[in-house]
Symmetry: C2
Subunit: 436 residues, 2 copies
């Protein structure tokens, strides 16, 4: 059997990881696919730096078009990151009839529609298992294993960096700034880790997953997001007292008339499996109408796990190519797409339980004032902690609410923040109490 030749654009962390998987597991890949998979060309602007893998220098080029236009190359693997150039190369490769594998979540979340359309137009395959959840085969699960289901709910820890930060804050009682500084020094987080901690990366990934489920490219910009940078060790401790952990969650629920999608820190009961997903691990919880609850857990990033996912896509394509057949799975796993877009519910319409920490002066009547405002907005309190414990010179009023409307909560919080006994902005964290 002829070897299947592939080209890689981008020889950074994931590129090197992909190369390493292909080299190390060359024989088992061949046993499973039926043909060897050979890296014919690798393009990167930097072809000097040692990536810790043995590459024949003839394979390297600084010109991405050499990869794209090589007639021997059947699969182009885009691992350069960024959006503008990556999009240009991916579309150019498709025009040349190449199948494309990518790990580029920003590209898919921001330009999915154009890229999926180009793949269909040119009759090529576009695979992106590595774009969400690192080595966790969640894309494959949604496209195949769970494909008979109407998915009603998806909740995920999709960003490893922010999960690492929250884990350290929770376990070691450290401040956000302290952990971030350390993580940057250790090379665990980027400097600054903005897209990881502000929810953008998780929103990208949620857009990709929900596009697969609905068969329509969803605009990630319409996903409500909040980051973790405002969280304090106090909130984490109070959450603990109430029996909860704080995680940066990406949440999507299927409503009768569209989707609810949001990324924000959320309090979840300690005994939920998701509450125990720590460090840089990712996990995705999915609930289908027939399969019921399903959970997928693994390393969400890193050279090796991401390389594993990229190569699994390459292998699926190579299996098709080796028997002379065209891969036929549409990018979003839907042959028929719903012609109408998907309605995404604005965050104002959300109904949720809430945690509030109101920094206030230690004076009688504070709680009654706050409770009064909440009551006027139909927000009922389920529990309160008021210990007279000083936090930053003030005594916080800390409470959990029953289910309430986000719009009412926002109005109430703004009135509370205007009280002269309230010394700083109220911290508000949504509470997820789904049965799982």
């Amino acid at each position: 059997m002829e070897p299947i030749k592939i080209g890689i654009i981008g020889f950074g962390t994931v590129g090197a990881g992909t190369f390493e998987v292909l080299a190390t597991n060359r024989d088992i890949i061949r046993d499973r696919v039926g043909a060897y998979v050979v890296v014919e060309k690798i393009a990167d602007l930097d072809i000097k730096t040692d990536r810790g893998v043995h590459v024949d220098h003839k394979v390297l080029t600084v010109n991405a078009l050499e990869v794209i236009e090589d007639p021997e190359i059947k699969i182009v693997v885009e691992l350069m990151g960024g959006v503008t150039k990556a999009k240009e190369y991916v579309i150019r490769a498709m025009e040349m009839g190449k199948h494309v594998v990518t790990a580029n979540k920003a590209l898919l979340a921001e330009h999915g529609h154009e890229i999926y359309t180009a793949a269909q137009l040119h009759g090529v395959s576009l695979s992106f298992e590595a774009s969400v959840g690192g080595g966790i085969p969640i894309i494959g699960a949604l496209k195949s294993g769970l494909s008979a289901n109407r998915i009603k709910l998806l909740m995920g820890i999709l960003n490893g960096t922010s999960n690492y930060i929250l884990t350290r804050m929770t376990k070691d009682g450290l401040s956000y700034d302290h952990v971030v500084e350390e993580a940057v020094e250790l090379g665990i987080a980027e400097d600054p880790p903005t897209l990881d901690v502000d929810g953008t990366d998780a929103a990208h990934k949620l857009a990709i997953l929900m596009s697969l489920l609905s068969g329509v490219p969803l605009d990630y910009g319409r996903i409500y997001k909040e980051g973790i940078d405002k969280l304090t060790p106090d909130d984490i401790r109070f959450a603990d007292e109430f029996g909860y952990r704080i995680k940066l969650l990406a949440i999507a629920k299927v409503l009768d008339d569209g989707l609810e999608m949001r990324v924000h820190p959320a309090m979840i009961p300690k005994d939920y499996i998701l509450a125990n997903v720590d460090e840089a691990f990712n996990a995705i919880y999915v609930e289908g109408d027939f399969v019921g609850p399903n959970l997928y857990y693994g390393l969400g990033a890193g050279r090796k796990p991401t390389g594993s996912a990229v190569v699994s896509d390459i292998m699926t394509l190579a299996r098709h190519i080796s028997v002379g057949e065209k891969p036929f799975m549409p990018p979003l796993g839907h042959v028929h797409c719903r012609p109408n877009g998907v309605n995404i519910q604005p965050i104002d319409k959300l109904t949720s339980a809430y945690y509030f920490r109101v920094p206030a002066v230690d004076r009688p009547g504070v709680l009654s004032k706050i409770a009064g405002i909440l009551g006027e907005h139909q927000i009922s309190i389920s529990s309160v902690i008021q210990k007279g414990r000083e936090v930053n010179g003030t005594v916080p009023v800390v409470m959990l609410t029953h289910e309430a409307k986000e719009s009412s909560v926002r109005r109430a919080v703004s009135l509370i923040d205007d009280l002269d006994m309230v010394t700083d902005k109220t911290v508000m964290i949504r509470v997820e109490r789904l049965k799982m």
Copy 2:
């Protein structure tokens, strides 16, 4: 697009669940596949009983051959269970050029070699996502998502009935007999639940998973197994005191010269995710050389989750058929199989940590006698509980050991049981302390 016609043999729980998925999610299945999937015929000896789904009576037949020989039917779905007849029908369907989907783990574990060979010989596909882990797409993960990895370790809770029994024993302190009696009454367990509780069902499933990973049909009869019926609430309580939970685990490790495979109750640290998989849930932990640790969690049985898995297989086949292409994934996901069989290590060669509960009379010198025998066999104790608490009229000596050889442990235990101060057989449970 022409509808894809399928036939179902066996209209019990899983058959009805499969039909229900196809009927309820007819439209989303069609959107994803590109064609409707239509149930053309259903064969069962009992076509009278109401299965809670609306079936046109013309579709039903008592003659399985009517399904197999119908030229319109492209996919035969075997859901009758049992081994002899099922094997005959599956092979006959393949001879007729039909693709086969089955949920029959006993069939695959006991006659895998013949069936896989027949599929290859007749150029048809054989899919069995529903045979392991119910709705959890673990077969797809091993065949595709993790296919670039050399899997080093697989540990699973693969039998929901025994996990339910252990959960009740742990949470409610009930005896094995009490929980089983209740579970049978509630219809959760079969009467008697022999194959579930003695480890046979989990061994069937482990054989299937490891066959996929090695590309060679493995004989489940060579898997060492022990059931949960000898466990007592005392052992569960002592495990808890040591910081462990007891689960029925299926474990496979890849050794330099073969496989270690075993199914038995095992003690795992309480903070492992697997220790928190309760009730009828299943979970599979897999460790690959690149992907690292991965975990899959969901309902391991039941009409709906199993139906979800069966239909996912049908949809993958239907996608191929609808574009006029032949499915080409070999049953075990390997195009090239290793010609030599796989060496399975006998249990005697195992190295593990152990828990012992030695029922003994309350007399000075008991512990020293037992410790002496263990020391002579190079088994060192890591902790001991000896509280003078009476259990069934005797005072147990309870201990954990460091890593020791199974062969030495067996010899030592047999000498301990011969001591006249020992009143009953020693209970021995293996302890898994893998980093996860």
